[in-house]
Symmetry: C2
Subunit: 160 residues, 2 copies
DNA sequence: GGATGATATGTTATAATATAACGTCCGGTA
DNA sequence: TACCGGACGTTATATTATAACATATCATCC
């Protein structure tokens, strides 16, 4: 929801995300299988979007024999249940901290540290729906990817 | 700026776009070469985003011998000068009707007819910059791709 | 427990998108 | 004319994603 500080307790992020995912799948009767769980953990390896083939490599290092479809299927499942999002600009995937919660798919992407942060901004949402309506357009899905520099990276850049 | 009606005079769209491009390049001292001009015309073949390889095929049919780098270089040039935009969701390219004009890169993408329309909505822009600022984030580029259904397609869908 | 159908995964091959690397040409300029 | 830099040609390859089909696993019913 806001930018991760550089040395936060990331294990807590992962545990919270995994718990939320388990809960979400239980409620929906969806099967969070071993592979899907492992891919989700790997996506949560950082707060940066991860490519499908990086996930594939990571799986392989963990001793899983996996081909591209394995990863893409897991990602498809995770996306369908709102557990990960795809960042179109990077062809990469990022974990969703609030599955189930209404989320429009708004991301801030820091070019300094590569972090992606999901936004849930009603005003942005409203402005987009209003602008669309003014053009007679009804919205089904938004992809909002905002590139820029986060506070931490800006501070680092200036101190040099 | 608003959705193209189904049987408009598309030739006029193309001529206007090409004239704007020539003007823009002249002002900037940029060389709109034969290939670049041809690729731009092909991008303007419709109001739908076109893939690089579709452009490549079209070039080939016009008797140009072209390999992928030819098209990607032309597209790179055209993007650099604001003459085309890339739609990240579709890995495809669309002509810009207002090069030079301030444009944030906001698109409405109709799932019915495949048309893409560029928006220049200050309120959306403001909402995004404000939301980013609230997170300590300074924006350098926006990618806003709104999927949905345009008025024409919605009307068609309902009459069935 | 065994049969059955649906879902999930394994495996191979290939499609679709994009870029690296290097050579050549061409237009302007000293 | 010699040179320089940008544009283009060409070959090869990287990266991302999916098709197609076989096999395995799970839940349920009998």
């Amino acid at each position: 929801m806001s930018f991760p500080v550089p040395h936060h307790d990331h294990g807590a992020c992962v545990r919270a995300a995994m718990a939320a995912a388990e809960e979400q799948c239980r409620r929906r009767g969806a099967r969070l299988t071993d592979i899907r769980r492992r891919v989700l953990e790997l996506v949560w390896g950082s707060h940066q979007p991860v490519g499908a083939y990086a996930l594939l490599d990571a799986l392989a290092k963990g001793g899983w024999s996996a081909a591209p479809p394995t990863v893409y299927r897991a990602l498809e499942f995770l996306q369908a249940h709102g557990l990960v999002h795809r960042i179109a600009l990077f062809n990469a995937f990022i974990g969703c901290a609030r599955p189930g919660h209404h989320h429009a798919g708004q991301f801030l992407l820091c070019s300094g540290c590569g972090s992606a942060v999901e936004l849930e901004d009603a005003k942005v949402d409203d402005a987009i729906i209003a602008a669309a309506a003014r053009n007679g357009f009804s919205v089904t899905r938004q992809t909002i990817e905002i590139e820029g520099v986060c506070a931490t990276c800006r501070a680092k850049g200036q101190e040099q």
